[in-house]
């Protein structure tokens, strides 16, 4: 468990702080995530998927569930601004918090995201990091539902080309 924690803590913490936007809340959530990993280890089947997928999916779901709580919605954290994938100097390749194993993959993902038009990237960000449906995104961004669907489709197809097919 310690090995798992050390391998994933920074990746998960970075992801959930992007979702929750509050360090204390994110640490609380991280504790809940690792407790659930310990409890749900029985359900993990290595033949059905990677440990990475199992852990990251669980972490994202936990963090997004928190944003849907009444208490969270009441707070400032559920602001109405549209965020995008941000690319800080730390995310440009020498982040000391980044696990070596994930560094190269992260660079590929960030590079691929930067190649996308901003509008497509925004839709993917809101969907992944806010857990919003297409109709909720349309409402939040004040654009037609068809436009959200189009941008999501185009963005994912391009990311697939950059991340999977270009490998």
């Amino acid at each position: 468990m310690r090995l798992l924690y050390r391998k994933y803590k920074n990746l998960l913490f970075g992801m959930i702080i992007t979702i929750l936007k509050d360090r204390e809340e994110a640490e609380d959530c991280l504790q809940e995530i690792f407790t659930q990993i310990w409890e749900k280890a029985d359900y993990f089947n290595p033949e059905k998927g990677r440990a990475y997928t199992f852990i990251v999916t669980m972490a994202r779901n936990k963090a997004i569930d928190r944003t849907r709580s009444k208490q969270f919605k009441k707070s400032e954290k559920s602001d109405q601004t549209i965020n995008d994938f941000t690319f800080t100097p730390e995310s440009e390749g020498n982040n000391p918090h980044e696990d070596l194993e994930f560094r190269e993959r992260a660079a590929i993902v960030r590079d691929a995201l930067q190649k996308l038009p901003e509008k497509e990237r925004e839709v993917l960000f809101v969907s992944y990091y806010r857990g919003l449906s297409q109709s909720q995104i349309a409402e939040k961004m004040d654009i037609p539902l068809g436009t959200v669907k189009y941008r999501m489709r185009q963005g994912m197809i391009k990311l697939r080309d950059y991340i999977v097919l270009d490998k």
Binding site: Y5, A41, K48, S133
Partner: protein
């Protein structure tokens, strides 16, 4: 293409589905499409799922407080403790004594059972964690190969015994290692293994190892440690055949996958 066609075809629904952004009706519609999807569409679905999972890497990694590690590890759910019951039976009638004795007996048996179950649960969780750790070590090996300066990709297509199968080779020829992905192949029978071959130009096949698994999947990765061959400048063909357990010096069984380096 009309506006509605644009947003209800496989690609559009697939993108929304993997991001969990569709309405319930659209989800159901996509799941039906997936049941009868072509191999290419299934591959697109799997690759979009992979892309979605990779989005987690886009946020900047950050360290939580150092003390959180001990807090988390020390506060993992404790094993359920037995709850000792206190039974006051003094001054009660013999019938009550008998009832109390029966209750105690049942409670004792129940606690023994719970204790047995808990012990099984702990053992099972430990096994799962061992599997997780082993999976991580395997991924590290795979990534080590992927990080090589020069790697060669070879796609293998499914042949007659399993036309929906496919495979990939990621070959680090400088270090004589490779990653093999096998997808949509049936599990080999108990007396057989899959065997990977490298055929340089028109030469004899060279064995690159045997592989086995219990359940078919599209996400089976193996490290190939026996590929100490320098690639031919003309042609390098990879093939997977079904062979007797442990492998054979030259292929004898059906060929399931084959692909030539472009």
């Amino acid at each position: 293409m009309s506006d509605s066609e644009k947003h209800t075809d496989f690609e559009a629904l697939c993108a929304g589905y993997v991001l969990d952004a569709l309405s319930n009706e659209e989800k159901e519609s996509f799941e039906k499409m997936l049941e009868s999807a072509s191999p290419e569409q299934k591959r697109m679905y799997e690759e979009m799922q992979l892309v979605t999972n990779e989005l987690a890497l886009a946020s900047s990694a950050l360290s939580p407080s150092p003390e959180l590690e001990e807090t988390i590890l020390n506060n993992l759910p404790p094993k359920e403790e037995s709850k000792p019951g206190s039974t006051k039976i003094f001054g009660l009638s013999p019938v009550v004594y008998k009832v109390a004795a029966a209750i105690l007996l049942i409670a004792t048996l129940s606690l023994s059972y719970v204790s047995f179950q808990l012990s099984n649960t702990v053992s099972s969780q430990e096994n799962r964690l061992t599997e997780l750790t082993s999976q991580l070590e395997k991924q590290e090996q795979l990534l080590d190969i992927l990080s090589a300066r020069e790697i060669t990709f070879v796609n293998m297509d499914g042949l007659d015994p399993s036309p929906e199968g496919y495979g990939k080779i990621i070959w680090d020829s400088q270090r004589g290692r490779a990653v093999l992905q096998l997808a949509n192949l049936p599990a080999p029978p108990p007396e057989s293994d899959y065997q990977l071959w490298l055929i340089k130009d028109d030469g004899d096949p060279i064995s690159a190892g045997v592989f086995n698994f219990n359940q078919p999947s599209d996400d089976l990765f193996f490290t190939v440690e026996q590929l100490n061959e320098s690639p031919s400048e003309l042609s390098n063909t990879f093939a997977v055949t079904l062979e007797p357990k442990g492998g054979v010096p030259q292929p004898t069984g059906d060929m399931f996958l084959a692909g030539v380096q472009n």
